[in-house]
């Protein structure tokens, strides 16, 4: 379980989801959506 590539991929996926969640939450708090809706 100490494989660097494995941890890189796992962290990459986890962080990507976390940052997207952050973006979504903050935009929603501002009454907006993540992707632009005119």
């Amino acid at each position: 379980m100490n494989s660097a590539p494995l941890w890189f991929v796992l962290t990459l996926v986890a962080c990507a989801l976390a940052f997207l969640g952050l973006d979504l939450a903050v935009m929603k708090l501002n009454g907006l959506t993540l992707f632009f809706q005119p």
Binding site: M1, A4, W7, T11, A16, D23, V26
Partner: protein, 631 residues
């Protein structure tokens, strides 16, 4: 439109006519004088006739004493002749330079006790006396600067009274109460500072040390309160509150103080002062390092310079966010003011600001990279420095790319408009936000490498930890680019501004998670070899000087911008500036005045450093004094 001479005023609900042009003919001053006569008569035990005469002389005195809340204060309409002049002296330049010099010193003497308090607490926690000695040396520098701050504050007060008496009268009518308490608070500030400094070696060990630290806390509480009070006056001039539609001030001191831009300025100045104070004591350490003769002295001042730079970086990282918040609030208060600030005449000064901020980041990073030479284990990380430098310089270039270019007609025709085809898009705020976030991130990474340079991790999961950190930075930067590029160029302004918030949060999350992960990875780590304090090139010390000069220059420039966006108003949209200087000077002229101020400040600061240096020197004068033989 109010008349030039007599104007109407609401005093305690009564419409009065009074001469608005006489600053000492104002109602509150007359009330105060009447009240003083009344009090004097009572002290003397005078007859009721005398008492009645005093009340008759000051009809508003009784109400004025009972109700200190000013109400119904209107701004006078002035003409150029209402501004006294002193032959051979330019009033605007005088007030400009004196106010700026006062602010530079004030920022320094308010900031030093903040980090001295923290350093003293660290010393108490670790029981490492080096921290206590360093904290004492820092506060020693600020003692001399403290008296210069007070002298410049007095000079500023006299300059305002001499050159802008009506404005000062108007502001003191509104803020008289807080101005009085401001002056009183200086007794507490001075008492706390002198006790803190002169009692340093007396209050040592056990309970006494805690008592000393508590005095430091009181000193900081009073100092910060003083700054908040003065910020209330200055922000009222930018975004006045408590003004009715007729332009008459009808609120109380708190309403005027708690105006729209008060807290944004409070936050921005509080953080900036710490960064600035760190840079000035860093310059002091560099000054002492370069003039040190003995190796242990060089080691001491090298360590002090490193800590000062650390303080400056720590406060510099969140500073652009506080600045962005302040600018956003200026836009929210007045779009006209916001557009003048960053889209009008002052926009080019923001390009200069960007260059200076880039200089701060580059010099702070350069100092860290030079400092890695203290460690024998830094060679492992030297190869990465060039990539950090490329990322920081690349971001710096985007950071100061102008949006609208200043062009001749021929150039405009050749370019097809004022915007460059490729560089134009880099001139707008989403590009700047993305660039500064990346710059901050890579500065944090520089610091991470510096911390690691002398350690060898012993945990078994070191490879996994490094891989996780790499993934964290990769996804974080990708998110910054997504928010900056997608929301910056493919949505509308509402989305564009909103996206700046998750950008800031992304940067802060990366820094916090990365430092936490690194601390866990390096728990129980081995030291490569003891750090060689003093083994740094002189170039690193010049970087510390550059940091202090760039900070000073930057504060002077932004001080002019903050004040200048009021344009031809003393108090925005309420009190018109009718002085002969009520125009926005050319950018070159303003930059020259700011530069002259910077040079004056640096001369004074070097004098303060030199005083601190000679205070610890002794001249052997045996043979001069009777009964003491020469050796």
């Amino acid at each position: 439109m109010k008349g030039v001479g007599d104007s109407k005023r609401m005093i305690n609900g009564h419409m009065l006519y009074c001469n608005a042009k006489n600053p000492f003919g104002s109602s509150s001053v007359r009330s105060l004088l009447g009240f003083m006569v009344l009090a004097f008569a009572m002290v003397l035990g005078g007859s009721t006739d005398l008492l009645a005469a005093a009340v008759d002389a000051a009809p508003g005195a009784v109400q004025g004493a009972a109700d200190t809340v000013p109400s119904g204060i209107s701004a006078p309409d002035l003409t150029a002749t209402d501004y006294p002049t002193v032959p051979g002296v330019n009033s605007r330049v005088t007030v400009w330079l004196v106010a700026q010099l006062h602010l530079w010193f004030a920022a320094f003497v308010l900031a030093v006790p903040i980090f001295v308090f923290i350093i003293e607490a660290i010393g108490m926690k670790t029981r490492d006396q080096r921290y206590d000695d360093m904290a004492y040396e820092f506060i020693k520098i600020s003692i001399t600067a403290y008296s210069l701050t007070a002298i410049l504050g007095g000079l500023l007060l006299f300059s305002l009274i001499v050159f802008y008496p009506h404005l000062f009268s108007y502001l003191s009518e509104i803020f008289g109460e807080s101005m009085f308490y401001y002056a009183l608070a200086f007794f507490a500030e001075s008492a706390a500072l002198y006790l803190y400094y002169y009692g340093w070696h007396w209050l040592q060990g056990g309970f006494r040390k805690w008592l000393h630290l508590s005095i430091g806390l009181v000193l900081n509480a009073v100092g910060t309160t003083l700054m908040f009070l003065a910020n209330g006056w200055v922000t009222f001039m930018m975004s006045p509150a408590g003004i009715d539609p007729a332009g008459v001030f009808s609120g109380d001191t708190w309403v005027a103080m708690h105006n729209y831009l008060w807290n944004p300025i409070n936050l921005h100045r509080f953080i900036a002062n710490i960064a600035y104070g760190g840079s000035i004591v860093g310059a002091y350490a560099a000054f002492r390092f370069l003039s040190a003769g003995r190796p242990e002295e060089r080691a001491h001042y090298d360590w002090m310079g490193y800590n000062a730079n650390f303080i400056a970086i720590l406060a510099l990282l969140p500073l652009p966010f506080a600045g962005y918040y302040l600018a956003a609030e200026i836009y929210a208060y007045s779009q006209q003011m916001g557009i003048t600030l960053m889209g009008g005449i002052f926009a080019w000064l923001f390009i200069i600001q960007a260059v200076l901020i880039g200089t701060l980041f580059l010099s702070a990073n350069y100092y860290l990279w030079c400092g890695m030479g203290r460690s024998d284990g830094a060679a492992r990380y030297n190869g990465y420095i060039k990539y950090l430098a490329i990322a920081i310089i690349g971001s710096f270039l985007v950071w100061f790319t102008p949006h609208t270019l200043v062009l001749t007609n021929e150039e405009l025709k050749a370019l097809g408009g004022p915007y460059h085809k490729y560089l134009g898009p880099l001139g707008i705020m989403p590009a700047k936000n993305t660039a500064v976030n990346i710059m901050i991130l890579f500065t944090a990474l520089s610091f991470l490498f510096y911390r690691r340079s002398n350690r060898i991790a012993t945990v078994t999961w070191v490879n996994a930890g490094n891989a996780a950190q790499l993934a964290l930075y990769t996804t974080g930067i990708a998110n910054l680019l997504f928010l900056g590029i997608y929301h910056g160029y493919f949505t509308n302004t509402v989305y564009k501004v909103a996206a700046s918030i998750p950008q800031v949060m992304t940067t802060l999350i990366i820094i916090v998670v990365s430092i936490t992960l690194d601390s866990l990875m390096y728990r129980g780590s081995r030291e490569v070899a003891p750090l060689n304090w003093g083994r740094v090139p002189n170039r690193a010390q010049y970087a510390l000087f550059l940091l202090a000069v760039a900070f000073t220059w930057l504060m002077g420039l932004m001080g002019y911008i903050r004040s200048g966006i009021r344009q031809h108003w003393h108090v925005t949209d309420v009190f018109r500036d009718a002085s002969p200087d009520a125009y926005t000077p050319t950018l070159g002229y303003a930059a020259n005045i700011v530069s002259i101020g910077t040079i004056l400040f640096m001369v004074l600061v070097i004098f303060v450093f030199w005083l601190s240096q000679i205070s610890s020197r002794r001249t052997d004068a045996r043979g001069y004094w009777k009964g003491v033989q020469g050796g």
